[in-house]
Amino acid sequence: MKANRFWSWAFLALGVLYFALPLIGTFEFSMKMRRGVYSLDAYWAVLADPRFQATFTYSVMMALATIVVGVLLVVPTAYWVRLKLPGWRPYLEFVTLLPLVIPPIVIVFGYIRLYNTSSWLPLTGTALGTNILLMFGYVVLSLPYMYRAVDTGLRAIDVRTLTEAAESLGAGWLTIMWRVILPNVLVAVLSGAFLTFAIVIGEFVLAALLNRPAFGPYLQLIGANRAYEPAALAVIAFAITWGCMALIQVVSRFAPRAPTQPH
């Protein structure tokens, strides 16, 4: 058992080394902009760049729109399937897993061919249309995570009883969704939302191929032209990802657990 524990520590140490080195290396590199001393110059240079502000704002807006549309699409559907169409669950689950099977680059290739200016739905013809198409693409990319999160959240509550109780008190469908179901799965929705945010904020392929001024293509552009700013941007991106995951952890503490609810 002693030898066992030694090897465990050895593996863990190697793992920590592999994962820590790039983070330390990036952080160290990002502070080397001024010759000879460590400074935060690269960060100031990045934050002062108007293109950083513009693309970052654009991607944040995109992420928020994606979350709203994703929630509006997924929550009623997952609820409805649990309540009325349990037989459909495997098929729907399959559809929501498809974005993991089909590479995003293939999906966006399809968009470009299917919704170009000469098609029946010329979404790429205008900036607004392309934004909407990009947002729908992000909803598709986030579908596996969002659907799984909401479905797990719905499993923890008694959908049927809650619905019948609300109906017997005279609530309509909108009231049930908004005031009964959504508050109960809010924690699940939020963890799905934070994950979506982390995915959308740095996404590159869809934005680059649809030619939108998002944060991902900006990152790539800076990476191709500058030395120290990319490292600073990588640190910022990692901090955002870490922040989203931390929020998921914090939020999921408040999740309702199935057996603890006395009915």
Binding site: F11, F19, P22, I105, L195, A234, W242
Partner: protein, 298 residues
């Protein structure tokens, strides 16, 4: 329904039919969205791969894939994906094993899993920057090895913009994904199995070969397939790392969509179709093996 009973027909069938058609309506928005923005674009690519510009059925596009440069791109993509999936599985398994069964204190587990959640989502362009800043020509590790140990990484033939470099970079999200998937599977390994084996006189090696691995192998192989598909479809990291200097399939397709090379769009369809086939096979292997392995994890 009142009509049906008034006509003295058997009541259940019409009632059931009416309810199904009504309930079905509730998921129409979702289905319409999925068809419009997920299924139709994909089908368009797939059917496009089997059509010539005039819209007639043809196998020429698929046949055109078998030219040396495209075969080479697929081959290096597959090699990188296999290498990063295999090493990701191996190292991720060892890490998970060390934490779950290796006798490490309990406080190690939660930070490792949280970090895995972060790192498995930390892909794309920033990851490429991180590795350039660490293993690039002026990166931290390169400089430390050179100044402190006298080892010249790049003199030894290492290059971050290569097969080895890309694999090393992909491992940053592959290993954590493996840790996240295999930890629950290792949790499901009952202590009783190990005790029963050792009471029967099995050595540790025999326990692993005859009990643990047969139970775990669907999970391991399935996760391997998932990791394979995960790195096969990754574009952003590779593109930010290598530009278009390393011709892997997603980068070739990216350049084709941008209009840089290969002016034949139907060859692009065929390239994309090839990607779907490969990631599709890998994912179905994963789903199938996962269903098998869930028999043991109750």
């Amino acid at each position: 329904m009142t009509d049906a009973s008034a006509a003295a027909l058997p009541a259940p069938p019409p009632a059931r039919r009416a309810r199904i058609s009504f309930a079905w309506v509730g998921i129409v928005p979702f289905l319409a969205f999925a068809v419009l923005f997920l299924i139709m674009p994909t089908l368009h690519i797939v059917t496009g791969a089997f059509r010539n510009p005039a819209g007639e059925f043809t196998l020429v596009n698929i046949a055109n894939l078998f030219q040396p440069s495209i075969i080479a791109a697929y081959w290096i993509s597959i090699r990188i994906s296999v290498a990063s999936a295999f090493l990701g599985c191996l190292i991720g398994f060892m890490l998970a094993w060390a934490v779950v069964l290796g006798g490490l204190p309990g406080w190690v587990r939660s930070p490792l899993l949280t970090f895995s959640g972060v790192a498995s989502n930390f892909a794309g362009v920033p990851l490429a920057f991180a590795f350039l800043a660490t293993f690039g020509r002026l990166g931290l590790v390169t400089l430390i090895l050179r100044d402190w140990f006298g080892i010249n990484l790049y003199g030894m033939g290492f290059n971050i913009l290569s097969f080895g470099g890309l694999t090393l970079t992909y491992l940053f999200f592959q290993i954590p994904l493996m840790v996240l998937i295999v930890t629950p599977a290792l949790d499901g390994m009952r202590r009783e199995w190990r005790e029963a084996a050792s009471i029967l006189g099995a050595t540790s090696f025999q326990y692993w070969r005859m009990v643990a691995l047969p139970i775990l192998w669907p999970t391991l192989l399935g996760t391997f397939a998932l990791l394979f598909a995960n790195s096969f479809g990754a574009v952003a990291t590779a593109y930010a790392l290598t530009g278009s200097s390393l011709s892997i399939v997603p980068i070739l397709l990216f350049a084709q969509i941008r209009g840089d090379v290969l002016q034949d769009p139907h060859l692009g369809y065929a390239l994309a179709f090839g990607m779907i086939v490969i990631t599709g096979i890998a994912n179905f292997v994963y789903i199938w093996l996962r269903a098998r392995s869930e028999r043991w994890v109750k």
